[in-house]
């Protein structure tokens, strides 16, 4: 072992994790705010108006990253919950709990922005299309996780019960997605769609990529901040002797 090796086990201790999170937050929060400003400016003012959809398409600069984060964060949540359960690592379980609210927020945002975009483009707020429906179900899964954890008073039980639920959920997500697609083709023909995968102009793609990066950084920063709150709350409940900072 060289001195370069990072001792990850060190951060299994909530006290150390608390400090690490505190040090990391600015490194994610500052670039996130900068990228949000640049991305929104480029997306809302610089990118040209779409010739088919008009200015309504600009909601995609929020919609696409939000939908993406909503899905990714659920998998990340299940991963941390599983690690926390298997290795009995409190820090990991607290990460999972911190991720849930951000994930649910992004999923909800994706649904709302989708509705706002659908109204002028498709002429309806809501369509029971496969992707919309599975995003809605994903939101239900997040809400189930959050309500289960908040119903349990004992944090150890809450962590483990949440882990079982998250793992069952993550196994089911592909099955749900497949079944919803199956259902969709059975019930209604092709929904109104923009034909084919049109290649995106660079002036639209760049702000989108910037916004995606901003959402990733924002998620990390917010989750770490919530993690710090959780550590404070729980560790002071469990042992008053743990000295933080």
């Amino acid at each position: 072992m060289t001195s370069q090796t990072i001792h990850w086990y060190r951060y299994a201790s909530p006290g150390n994790l608390y400090q690490l999170a505190g040090q990391l937050i600015p490194w994610f929060a500052v670039p996130a705010s900068a990228l949000f400003v640049v991305g929104l400016y480029l997306g809302l003012f610089v990118a040209p108006t779409d010739f088919q959809q008009g200015d309504a398409y600009r909601v995609l600069f929020v919609h696409v990253p939000a939908a993406w984060m909503g899905m990714v964060l659920y998998v990340v949540l299940a991963f941390y919950a599983a690690v926390g359960w298997v290795f009995n690592a409190r820090g990991s379980s607290m990460m999972a709990s911190s991720l849930a609210i951000t994930g649910a927020m992004f999923t909800f945002l994706a649904l709302v922005t989708g509705a706002l975009w659908g109204r002028p483009t498709w002429g309806t707020w809501w369509i029971w299309d496969a992707r919309t429906t599975s995003t809605l179900i994903l939101l239900f899964l997040y809400l189930g996780f959050i309500s289960l954890q908040s119903a349990i008073d004992d944090p150890r039980r809450a962590d483990r019960a949440g882990a079982v639920l998250a793992l069952v959920g993550v196994v089911n997500v592909p099955i749900i997605y497949f079944s919803v697609q199956w259902w969709n083709t059975l019930h209604q023909g092709a929904t109104i769609r923009i034909a084919g995968e049109t290649s995106m102009a660079g002036s639209m793609l760049v702000p989108l990529l910037i916004m995606i990066a901003a959402c990733w950084l924002y998620s990390v920063a917010v989750v770490l901040a919530r993690l710090r709150c959780l550590i404070r709350e729980r560790e002071s409940l469990m042992t008053r002797s743990v000295v933080i900072e």
Partner: protein, 227 residues
Amino acid sequence: MKPMSSAATLRWLVWREGTLAWRRRSDVLGTLFFFVMVVSLFPLSVGPERPLLRSIAPGVVWVAALLASMLSLNRLFAEDHADGTLEQMLLTPHPIYVIVLGKAIAQWLVSAVPLILMAPLLGVQFGLSVDAPFVLMASLTLGTPVVLLIGSIGAALTLGLRGAGTLTSLLVMPLYIPTLIFGAGSAQAVLVGSSPAANLRLLTAMLILTAIFAPWAAAAALRISLE
């Protein structure tokens, strides 16, 4: 004393739960009446037009069956937990997997089978033609065990919590969606004149998967809840 084999434990559990249910027949009948009443509310709420009723019948029956299963989920572990029997069961050398499976099988026999037998009758009430009621019955036969097995995970996770009933439904409803889609879809397929085989096969696949994995997850959940 020689310990019982897993198969014997399973038989014993099913017998025990069956006896308990027989002595409290009103619970079982309550689930059945609930199912029939929910289904009967639909013609009253959407109107008595035959074509409309026929097209919504499979979905209505399936959703009512899901809701009725929620009632039996609350009985799955809660009563044995309240009087301490469940803890004693977990202390026996038998795998928790077997205990969960036994309870789920018993609950299925007691509360789902009457429902399955009643379903074709309700289908006829909704104007379903010759084949569709039987496909509906087949889909419920394959689907209700899946519902109970997945539900047992939720019931185990919420054991002893405040508002456990509502919470269980919140947790497991999203997980029921594939079963609901394939189940109602199979009878729907008959209505539009295509074969229900694909739906029923997918339902069978789900039954096999959940029979293997769900008791295991529910066992883990029980261990967490009773720690």
